[in-house]
């Protein structure tokens, strides 16, 4: 099986083979590629970067992200929750707007400022 590592710009081409009960991973330039491949097989996860609505005229949308990776199959469910949210006060970048989104243990935090 072949995978492209998405951890860093090197985009290493990973080769995964199963030998007995162990995965043999080659092609990765660093350890992060090894763990990426293992996670990708067992529990693929991604960060989500999107925006939330605000009530501010000059900044109708504020960018947000998940503060760590969420299971790939929950992405659209999480998006639905994020899209229901409307920001009504000015907050610092990095502030939590949704805690423990869809019971993933992951928070949605802002990634930009409102001037």
């Amino acid at each position: 099986m072949k995978l492209t590592c998405i951890v860093c710009p090197n985009s290493c081409e990973l080769n995964i083979e199963k030998e007995k009960n162990e995965y043999i991973i080659t092609g990765n330039k660093c350890k992060r590629g090894y763990y990426f491949a293992l996670n990708e097989l067992k529990d693929p996860r991604r960060t989500i970067c999107t925006t939330i609505k605000t009530i501010f005229k000059d900044k109708p949308r504020l960018s947000v992200k998940t503060n760590s990776e969420v299971p790939k199959n929950k992405i659209f469910e999480i998006m639905q929750n994020i899209n229901k949210f409307i920001l009504k006060e000015k907050i610092e970048p990095g502030s939590i707007v949704l805690k423990n989104v869809c019971n993933t243990g992951v928070d949605i935090i802002t990634t930009d400022e409102i001037e």
Partner: protein, 410 residues
Amino acid sequence: MKEYEVIIIGGGPAGMAAALKVNNEGCKALIIEREERLGGILKQCIHDGFGVLKFNERLTGPEYALKYKNIIKNKDIDILLKTFVIEIKKDKDFHIKIINENGIHILKTKTVIFSTGCRERTSKQIFIQGERPAGIYNAGTAQYMTNIMGFMPGKNCIILGSGDIGLIMARRLTLEGAKVLGVYEIKDTPSGLTRNIRQCLYDYDIPLYLSHSITKIFGKERIEAVEISKVNKNYELIENSKKIIKCDTLILSVGLIPENELLEDLGITIDKKTNGAFVDNDFMSVEIPGIFICGNALHVNDLVDYVSESGEIAGKKACEYIKNKKTNNKNTKVDINENFLYIVPQYINENSNDEIIFYFRSKKRFENAKLKIFLDDKIVEKNYNKLIPAEMEKLTIKNIKNKKISMILE
């Protein structure tokens, strides 16, 4: 008339990095930015993956920009927002004519750093037959609509070109509930980064069609469908391969071009390979000393980390130029063979004893490529497992002073 040592045109990642370096070196800098905020295109690039090389974290575009903005805020750096540069003239110094809400002014400066970034190729530049209805957007415009304004460009989208912004918009629109019917690329290899093909298309089951192009647009008011054809290796249409696909949106991700009108007005020649100016390893124009060019205005980078890095070099070298009052560098051209798409810098200042950073792209895909670097008669070899035009390579060479340099890629 207000006088500066360094005027920086463009307050994106290259300009902000340049300004900070100039400030660190003890010179007075002014940033001129045409938008309301610093940050350049990063403001709308809300996806993550920025700063992996520079900060060792995966930042989003706004986060990367904020890191710089917050440092700049506390420094003695002048900033003019909502200001356009309309003309630059040179006698002993440079005179920069600007326009903003306070009117037209002229500023005097010893050096100018161009960090004007790049813009997208438009639909006019790719010659598609048919109507010109609404619903055709550049990928960057679609990104601005979605991420800044909060508007959906459309519901059933076709993307032409596999550039990174197009790939990222394929994912973004899918997340927001649109259907991306396919990404069509005229070349037989993708233009975007491999990791973006994977995480933006494969993750969301968006098909990528290589060796395909859009040959006709249908629709009077709003786009209703496109005609798609297969092409051969020479981009010639393959007969009977036409297919019509219904859609309400066409997004173009067909390449970026450095923004260089102001340089051309100054009489600076543009390198047809990079679409930027010819520079030496100080990132100084080889034609007009005192002009420095960095970031995507010099050549289109694939990572913002390199954009900031080139801004820092330009900032440092502009200050050295002011302090040493050098008039003209003695430059030699870097010879490269035909397997390079381009190399930057194109020239080397013979008196320079610094280690030199080169950025280059290969013309085609190479497996197990060998790069031979000739320094006078000494040869250094470097091996690459894989080189593709979509991914830029960085190369650092030391001890280059007074040497002839040439490179062969095979």
